[in-house]
């Protein structure tokens, strides 16, 4: 019994020292943000709209709109951002939409959503790799906007 207890203690210490993955010790995370528009119109008349990647399009099918397009403003191209801990990064998605993302540790981000320069929402969310945070709302003519923040691997 004594040997068994000693063996278990050794295994525990070994697990603490050799630590191949430690999510709580990550100092930065990589994210990508997109502005998406949901509509029932198949071919909208706007040059700044492009189809979504298939995986994202499939995920958005839970909502009622038939089609989803990424809003692409050449002045504000979408990009991946590496956000270090306790540092806020601003991502401008369009002339009217901006988010500020801050990594506060333990896989948690704090997102501030600004619409026309006004603060609309502050959201803290623990986000695992491959998951998305979606901030959304209705737009005119029964359409909807989606700000999709994905954590990249």
């Amino acid at each position: 019994m004594k040997n068994l207890v000693c063996l278990l203690i050794y295994v525990l210490i070994f697990g603490l020292v050799v630590n191949p993955t430690n999510a709580s010790g990550v100092d930065s995370i990589k994210v990508k943000a997109l502005l998406v528009w949901g509509t029932d119109t198949e071919v909208p008349n706007a040059p700044n709209l492009k189809p979504l990647p298939k995986d994202l399009s499939e995920k958005l099918k839970m909502f009622k709109w038939k089609y989803y397009f990424q809003v692409c403003d050449p002045d504000y191209p979408s990009k991946e951002l590496l956000i270090t801990k306790d540092k806020a990064e601003t991502i401008t998605l369009s002339k009217k939409c901006e988010i500020q993302v801050k990594y506060i540790g333990d896989s948690t981000i704090e997102v501030k959503l600004f619409g026309e320069k006004k603060l609309v929402l502050i959201k803290k969310q623990a986000l695992q790799e491959g998951a998305h945070l979606v901030l959304a709302g209705e737009d005119k003519n029964d359409t909807a906007w989606f700000v999709i923040i994905g954590r990249l691997k």
Binding site: L8, P20, K59, L121, K123, H132, E138
Partner: protein, 163 residues
């Protein structure tokens, strides 16, 4: 307009809209919604939110009603099965004679095993899923949020037409 509805009221309204209340409670909530403008707007907002999703949301139903569940629990507390008691007392006697070494060994095995399992499995199991949010309420915004596990999406729906 000053809000008179509290968080408990909001939960009741949600349950009412999802048809989870019994007849008595349902009538009470209905009366509250009809007499309170904030409650009415909240209920409308929830109904509108429900309409935003397609019919793909899985429905989970408990096999028996709440009242039946609590009646069964009360019955077990007041009149436990004899064989349960017998097993309980014999286990207790065994544990008393071997309590200290068994408890230590079992605790170490469980803690060590759980710790190693968490460390070497996918990151998903180590992520803390709690979230906090606040909305700029001075803009009259209502916020509804949920997690869609199949899509791995945390959704926050901003309803600017609630108030």
């Amino acid at each position: 307009m000053k809000k008179t509805m509290n968080f408990k009221d909001q939960l009741k309204i949600q349950a009412w809209i999802d048809n989870e209340l019994d007849e008595k409670e349902s009538l009470a909530v209905k009366a509250m919604v009809e007499s309170n403008s904030d409650a009415k707007k909240f209920a409308e907002s929830l109904r509108k939110f429900n309409s935003l999703l397609t019919k793909n949301e899985p429905e989970y139903k408990f096999p028996i009603s709440q009242s039946e569940l609590w009646a069964n629990i009360k019955k077990e507390i007041n009149h436990p099965q004899p064989r349960v008691l017998q097993f309980y007392y014999s286990s207790l006697h065994w544990l008393e004679s071997k309590l200290i070494p068994v408890a230590i060994a079992a605790s170490l095995v469980i803690i060590g095993g759980a710790y190693l399992a968490l460390k070497f499995t996918h990151n998903k199991s180590t992520v803390h899923l709690a979230s906090e949010e606040s909305a700029a309420l001075n803009l009259g915004i209502n916020v509804l949020s949920f997690y869609a596990p199949k899509q791995e999406m945390y959704v926050v729906w901003v309803d600017t037409n609630a108030y």
